[in-house]
């Protein structure tokens, strides 16, 4: 908050556009990405729901300052601005209290202002009063400006766009485009904007990231599939919604790292996030060198051994480190599972039908004849029912389900927003994932969140019973999760209240609260494997909260044994 208050001061004191521009540029360059995202949202005039009314704020300020209302009115008369007046009269934190770290702008929104919009009056008051005591007067003033939805600092959206364009080194029109509409107020998005001009990526800003490769090696924006809605999750409904099976190409949904192999004057491997992975996977570069110049493949980097994919965690160990070039063998072997062709002989073929691209892809890969570059299998299943049956074998095959791609689809850009299902839309790609594993577990500790959705106590740790039967032994933590389809804002607030009221201990500086083991949640996850690093001896993949089992008592939660039985042999 201090950095934001500083830039506010500089903007406030200046009438020169150049000085404001310079102040914004300096701020956007230095700021923590999460805070920068919110600052940018504020400057762009994104509307934010009001956290408290001025009447409420005035009342609470009177209460904590012990000043009568008439005196606050007199102060208001002298100052001319209520938010400033209140910032001046509420007590400062005791000087000897050792002022806590001032929350950053993102934390101000995610931990205070956003939760306040859905809290009751007492909750709002507690949060605001607590925040007052952590800020100095100048920061409180800026806070009140943020709350009063009429935030004006003499910065127009245009000025903010211009400053961001300068920071990232792109032209204003491009930045303006990236900042139009409801762009995500996240550190990732802000960071991607900040390096937009440095990224070797043609895709939308959200996908872009640093590269450092010459333009000649730039990949294309990735085309993303949509999650198949639950409502169509049956063969008859698929027939009805998507039409005949024959119009669709069905593939396995691989559990790897989406990437493009670009082979032009040299070869490169790019991740969907715009990261250059050539140094992590030199053997793929070697393989790709054999492709004709002017080729771009879309596919998946997979840890692969004995004809089947390895668990994703193996791949992670490869991503995490740079491989020496010319190495003879690697501990985790990988392949590139190609499923689309975007460029051939230097020609952009994204506008061609999938069936055409597929045919060319198969020809290319066959011509290359390299064991590390494969084409993703196209399933022969001749009806939607057979597709469903094939999907049922996913887990045993080490894949995540199936992909449905219209045979006449173009290779689009980004994620095409569609209604629930719109089969007529060109380029529709769907992922029909296998149902996740679920398990009932007990909430045992919680931590304040961070980021967009995270607010209140929203990072949870869950535990399972160690005994042979439910309710026996002790509760052993095994997974952390902080979101999921079952977690509405309302549920978050309720759980937060429970946590505050049922804290039985705290852990150190991490701000972790141990809570009474009473609440049961259904946790969904994609896989589980043995792990020496976890106390439970097990690690689950992509855990998320499916729903709050208000119908269950903690003693009815599952055991570690149940989870262990799911480990793939």
């Amino acid at each position: 908050m201090k950095a934001f208050a500083d830039v506010f001061d500089r903007l406030d004191a200046s009438t020169s556009t150049d000085a404001k521009h310079a102040a914004l540029v300096a701020y956007f360059r230095e700021v923590e990405a999460a805070d920068g995202a919110w600052a940018l949202a504020v400057f762009c005039g994104r509307s934010i729901k009001r956290a408290a009314s001025s009447t409420q704020m005035k009342r609470w300020a009177a209460e904590v300052s012990g000043l009568p209302a008439w005196l606050i009115d007199e102060c208001h008369g002298q100052v001319g601005d209520l938010g400033e007046t209140l910032s001046l009269i509420v007590p400062d934190a005791a000087a000897d209290a050792g002022r806590q770290e001032t929350p950053g702008l993102a934390a101000i929104f995610s931990e205070f202002l956003t939760p306040m919009t859905r809290a009751d009056e007492a909750g709002k008051r507690a949060m605001l009063v607590g925040l007052w005591a952590r800020l100095d007067q100048r920061e409180r003033f800026v806070l009140h400006k943020l709350i009063s939805t009429t935030f004006r600092v003499g910065v127009s959206r245009g000025l903010a766009v211009r400053a961001m364009a300068t920071v990232s080194g792109v032209d204003q029109a491009r930045m303006d485009h990236a900042l139009s509409g409801q762009w995500p107020i996240t550190s990732e998005y802000f960071q991607s904007l900040r390096i937009l001009g440095k990224a070797g990526v043609r895709g939308d800003a959200g996908e872009a990231a640093a590269g450092g490769e010459p333009p000649s090696l730039q990949p294309y924006p990735f085309f993303l599939a949509q999650q198949l809605p639950d409502e169509v999750d049956r063969p008859d409904l698929l027939e009805e919604q998507l039409g005949p099976r024959s119009r669709w190409q069905v593939e396995w949904k691989w559990d790897g790292l989406r990437g493009q192999i670009v082979r032009r004057d040299r070869a490169a491997v790019w991740s969907r996030g715009g990261e250059l992975l050539s140094r992590q996977f030199p053997e793929l570069i070697d393989a790709a060198e054999g492709l004709p110049t002017g080729t771009v493949l879309d596919g998946e980097v997979l840890a692969f051994e004995g004809g089947r994919p390895l668990d994703f965690s193996h791949l992670q160990t490869r991503i995490a480190r740079v491989q020496p070039t010319g190495l003879l063998f690697v501990d985790v072997p990988v392949v590139f599972m190609a499923y689309d062709l975007l460029e051939i002989e230097g020609r952009d073929v994204r506008g061609e039908a999938l069936s055409t691209r597929r045919a060319m892809l198969e020809g290319l890969v066959a011509g290359l004849g390299h064991p590390l570059v494969r084409t993703s299998e196209v399933l022969g299943a001749s009806s939607w029912a057979e597709v469903e049956a094939a999907r049922g074998t996913s887990r045993a095959r080490g894949v995540e389900g199936v992909m449905l791609k219209r045979v006449d689809s173009e290779y689009g850009a980004g994620r095409v927003k569609l209604g629930p299902v719109d089969a007529k839309a060109l380029g529709a790609w769907w992922k029909w994932k296998i149902d996740p594993f679920v398990i009932d577990c007990v909430l045992v500790s919680a931590q304040r969140g961070s980021g967009r959705r995270a607010s209140l106590y929203t990072d949870y740790t869950f535990a399972l019973w160690s005994g042979p039967q439910r309710g026996e032994g002790e509760l052993v933590p095994f997974a952390k999760a902080y979101h999921g389809k079952g977690m509405t804002d309302e549920v978050f607030v309720k759980i937060d209240q429970f946590i505050r009221g049922h804290t039985i201990g705290r852990i150190g500086g991490a701000g972790i609260r141990l809570v009474e083991p009473r609440l049961v949640f259904e946790l969904a996850f994609e896989g589980v494997q043995a792990s020496a690093r976890h106390r439970s001896g097990l690690a689950v993949r992509f855990p998320r909260v499916n729903r709050w089992r208000t119908d269950k008592h903690a003693s009815e939660a599952d055991t570690l044994g149940t989870l262990r039985a799911l480990v793939r042999s």
């Binding site: 004191a13 009438t15 005196l71 007199e74 002298q78 100052v79 001319g80 001046l88 009269i89 003033f141």
Partner: protein, 402 residues
């Protein structure tokens, strides 16, 4: 009878205007030790005025700001160091001729039917509270003059004095005024100066000639660059040095010194000068000059903005709200007279929220061009329409001390 005059229209009270002969009558039924007269506060039993605004026989002077010390009276009584400052204003011959008595703090002398003594007020060098004790009844009044409770290191630090009636100033008598410790403010000022100097831009800081300028000097980090003064600040600064206050070396603010510093200098100037022809003629090595002001009023954003300052530092020689309340408490006074500022507000607060017997005393201090912070800085003419606030419309001029 409580006499709480309307204070909003300061100008109507004073010379020829209505005044209250008795500020109040104590429970004992005795007449007040100090009353208001057309010439200002007067002690009938002692036969002297306190900070009179007209020419009188004997003026007990709390400090040398022009709204408290006006020339033309026959004799003045002030503190020892106050005499040095006052003499620099009135001319040394005036002091040598014996017109000004300088008493050590705490020296107690009978004057008519009262004992008089002076006690440090912490406002500026030599500033004093006036203690008046009736020789027969022992009733004691203390007239605070201007004061601040934080020890600034160069003025004699404020000491609370027990009394029956305490007459307090109330310049910053609103809870919005709470000062940061001066060390923190000096750090901010030095950081501002340092960053300007680094980019080769001159720094100019507006400050009142007596008190504020010297206090700034005591807090500036002279290693950053040369410190140069506008002519109006020199005599007061020399008076401080003459009184033994050690201050960093200063030069004269001229076109030559400004240019020679390569933009590293800081210029101290009275508020009236910072937008004068003198200021506009100064060279601007770094393109622009950075302009700030040091005053308690700077704690409110509107005041900063209306003056189009690059920076405002809330540094005051008056007590802030907690300082006022603390000082009042420390005197143990049964009755509180409130003057010089937010009179109505503080009186009402003391009565309603503290259950104290409080009354207002009209003053003429404001509006006469005092060169003291008591006045809110006037808006620049170009921005005057924005300054619709009460304080801003008092029309206070801000001339430098003579």
């Amino acid at each position: 009878m409580i006499c709480a005059l309307a204070v909003r229209g300061y100008g109507v009270v004073g010379r020829g205007g209505p005044y209250c002969p008795n500020m109040g009558v104590a429970a004992t039924g005795r007449p007040d030790l100090v009353i208001t007269t057309p010439a200002g506060l007067y002690c009938p039993a002692g036969g002297f005025h306190i900070d009179p605004w007209a020419k009188v026989e004997m003026a007990v002077t709390t400090h040398a700001h022009t709204d408290h010390a006006r020339p033309g009276s026959t004799r003045y009584l002030t503190s020892q160091t106050g005499k040095i400052v006052l003499a620099s204003r009135f001319g040394p011959q005036f002091a040598q001729a014996g017109h000004i008595d300088g008493w050590a703090y705490g020296r107690r002398e009978r004057v008519g039917d009262v004992y008089v003594s002076l006690h440090p007020a912490g406002h500026v060098l030599g500033s004093a509270q006036v203690r008046i004790e009736h020789a027969a009844t022992g009733e004691t009044w203390v007239i605070s003059g201007d004061y601040k409770t934080e020890d600034d290191g160069i003025s004699e630090a404020f000491v609370p004095v027990r009394c029956h009636v305490f007459v307090t100033e109330s310049t910053f008598g609103l809870p919005i005024y709470r000062w940061k410790p001066q060390g923190q403010v000096f750090a901010e000022i030095n950081a501002w100066w340092r960053s300007n100097a680094a980019s080769g831009r001159l720094s100019m800081i507006a400050c009142y000639a007596l008190g504020k300028a010297q206090r700034l000097l005591s807090g500036l980090d002279a290693s950053i660059g040369p410190i140069v003064l506008h002519g109006a600040l020199r005599s007061c600064t020399e008076a401080y040095r003459a009184a033994g206050v050690s201050l960093p070396a200063t030069g004269h603010a001229t076109q030559e010194t400004a240019r020679a510093s390569g933009g590293r200098a800081i210029i101290l100037a009275p508020p009236s000068a910072v937008r004068s022809a003198w200021a506009y003629k100064l060279p601007r090595p770094g393109g622009e000059m950075e302009l700030a002001m040091a005053s308690g009023w700077m704690s409110v954003r509107g005041t900063r903005r209306r003056r189009a300052l690059d920076k405002g530092f809330a540094l005051s020689d008056h007590a802030d709200w907690p300082g006022l309340l603390g000082a009042i408490e420390a005197t143990g006074a049964e009755r509180i007279g409130v003057t010089h500022g937010a009179v109505e507000t503080l009186v009402r607060y003391l009565r309603e929220c503290k259950g104290r017997e409080a009354f207002g005393i009209a003053t003429q201090f404001v509006g006469e061009g005092g060169g003291d912070e008591a006045e809110q800085p006037a808006d620049d003419a170009t921005n005057a329409s924005e300054g619709a606030g009460e304080g801003a419309s008092q029309g206070a001029s801000e001339g430098a001390n003579a």
